[in-house]
Amino acid sequence: MAMNVTGEVGNHSQPPFSKQKKLWTLPFILAVLVVLMLGVISLFTGAYDIFNNEHGKEMFFITRVPRTIALMLTGAAMSMTGLIMHLVTQNKMVEPTTIGTTEWAGLGLLTVYLLIPSPSLVLRMTGAIVFSFIGTMFFFLLLRRVRLRSSLIVPIMGMMLGAVISAFSTFVTLYFNMSQVIEGWFIGSFAPVQAGKYEYLWFIVIVTMIVFLYANRLTLAGLGEEVATTLGVNYNRLIILANALIAVTVGIVAAVIGNIPFLGLIVPNIISMIRGDDLRSNLPWVCVLGMGTITLCDIIARAVIMPFEVPVSLILGTVGAVVFILILLRQRKHRRLR
């Protein structure tokens, strides 16, 4: 695997861990403040007037607060999975949307609906997690088996794989007459989030903590199997752990919110352009920028056709596509991709 990477791990000049940069620098504090402000704006955006209504305060805690928390958690989670994937595959164009993990999660949801009539949220989540794990593992094994001629072929393959899975899902839905059930799923929206329906997202905090604990080892895994093993890391176990973390996050978000495209791609790429490739010191930045991006997109989604709203995934899909193309073109200028 190490041979066929055409310069994806760009910045090798990381500082040694002993001289690690301080986290709470001025820019980071500013970023956190901006995100907090966005959170406050998100709390007070909506058609329902919470100040002049009798039930204003109740409504505030039933819908607005959960929605904002859900946004923050999802934003952090999805951008983090992107970062882990970039590291482990040594490819900056890999993320749940571009390798088909999302489609696998959708297939998982569908399977649960098929096996159990009107399944609970936990069951749906389990299905999504299991299938995302299978899908991600499948792609990783595929990547390890084949010799790549270009790093750009990886997302192309991944998206075709995703199309195969969704063709299969379409067949199943048509065959069992279930297209209505799954119809709305691929459009991720925060509109139905309210107290009692989103709490599973808190699991993401645990996942984040595990990622922080394993950050250094995951960075080593990013150097490839030989190097990682030489440095005393159990490579295979680490890959399975990384996949499990990705699957849990994608599965939970898939079951609770839906499909959130491109977030895991654009956020870590922007951060690594600015700061280089150290997972541990980048993680807080990635989380914060992820939160900010998705909250901003959700505010736009709610504001653009007041008093209605559009699903955030559409905004994110559009913005994400533009940013992705800009990143690709920028890379092309920097070094000739092959």
Partner: protein, 352 residues
């Protein structure tokens, strides 16, 4: 190989592998025979299924005056299948050759996203009457023209110059497609339900709602484009060896690639506008034709791909309509099989 040649080889003691090398399209007469047998088999099966589609289970007797209209109605679907088979088989084989990659298809480049984007934005910006009026040959050519224009911009921008890169172009194409999907999804959210219904009917394509009024214009275009590709076969043979080899052989790599990609864009735009998207059909056809035609010569691969594509489409429609009574899911099932083939091929690949 002539007897004299083989005598010389045996005298000189050439080993078997060297002797099998040949500049001709087929390695041996046996391969050539197998090719022609398979080609006629597929063509025969395709024609049989076509006849079945036209005449089988006709609700009116042959001597009834309404027999001819029924046949005509069914003929429209068959012609649409013929066009789809031609477009998908030629464009996929040519595309895989110029990209030197046998697991990607031109449908990736977002033609269907652009199609649905054009339809949605017509409705969104100009209203329902505009969409209803947005039909006929003028609109058809406007759409095809826009799609070709987009591909031209994409190719000219990303394929030429110092940074020209085929994979980058592909990836940008896919991403533009998904971005356009999001934008059209966004606009569709803002439509009223009645407008949405109108649009939905437009966006679901199948050979059965192909409009016969386009045929007089579409058929010449397709025939001209396809024959251009066929006459470029020798160039394609060289181009499929990759940029360096092709340049060494004196083929202008970039100009030829762009020319072939434009031809592919014409075919894909026509079929998408006429019939709707089929992502994995071309892949399935190309894969099978490489198996059936043991040669790298496009002059032989193209006809085989067309025969297989036509055979698959007609027999799938015939079987599913008249044997399994599963009317709605034909294209879904073709896609499913194409997708499964894709997975199998992907798993057997050693390098991408």
């Amino acid at each position: 190989m002539s007897t004299l040649e083989s005598q010389i080889n045996s005298v000189n003691g050439f080993d078997a592998s060297l002797r099998n090398r040949s500049t001709r399209a087929f390695r041996s007469a046996r391969h050539a025979r197998r090719y022609w047998i398979l080609l006629s088999l597929f063509l025969g099966a395709g024609i049989a299924a076509t006849l079945g589609l036209i005449f089988y289970n006709n609700p009116v007797p042959v001597d009834s005056p309404s027999f001819i209209p029924v046949v005509q109605r069914r003929l429209v679907a068959v012609v649409a299948m013929l066009i789809a088979a031609l477009c998908h088989s030629f464009s996929t084989v040519a595309f895989q050759s110029v990209t030197s990659n046998r697991i990607i298809t031109p449908s990736l480049l977002g033609y269907e996203s652009l199609y649905s984007f054009i339809q949605t934005s017509t409705l969104f910006f100009f209203g329902a009457t505009a969409l209803v009026n947005f039909s006929g040959t003028g609109a058809f050519f406007l759409q095809v023209g826009l799609m070709i224009l987009l591909s031209l911009i994409l190719y000219g921008w990303l394929l030429s110059g110092k940074y020209g890169n085929l994979h980058l172009m592909l990836l940008v194409g896919i991403i533009i497609g998904s971005g356009l999907n999001s934008v059209s999804g966004f606009m569709r959210r803002l439509l009223s339900p009645s407008e949405f219904d109108l649009l939905q009917a437009r966006l679901i394509g199948s050979v059965n709602n192909a409009d016969a009024e386009y045929f007089p214009l579409v058929i010449p275009i397709v025939i001209i484009t396809v024959s251009c590709l066929y006459f470029l076969s020798r160039k394609l043979n060289v181009l499929s060896l990759g940029k360096d080899v092709a340049t060494t052989f004196g083929v202008k790599y970039q100009a030829n690639i762009i020319l072939i990609l434009v031809l592919i864009a014409v075919l894909m735009s026509v079929t998408t506008t006429l019939i709707g998207p089929l992502t994995f059909f071309g892949f399935l056809v190309a894969m099978l034709s490489y198996q059936a035609a043991p040669t790298y010569d496009h002059r032989y691969v193209f006809p085989m791909a067309f025969a297989i594509g036509f055979c698959i489409l007609t027999s799938a429609y015939f079987l599913l309509y008249h044997v399994f009574q599963a009317r709605t899911v034909v294209s879904v099932i073709i896609e499913l099989f194409g997708g499964l083939t894709f997975l199998i091929v992907l798993l057997r690949k050693r390098s991408l």
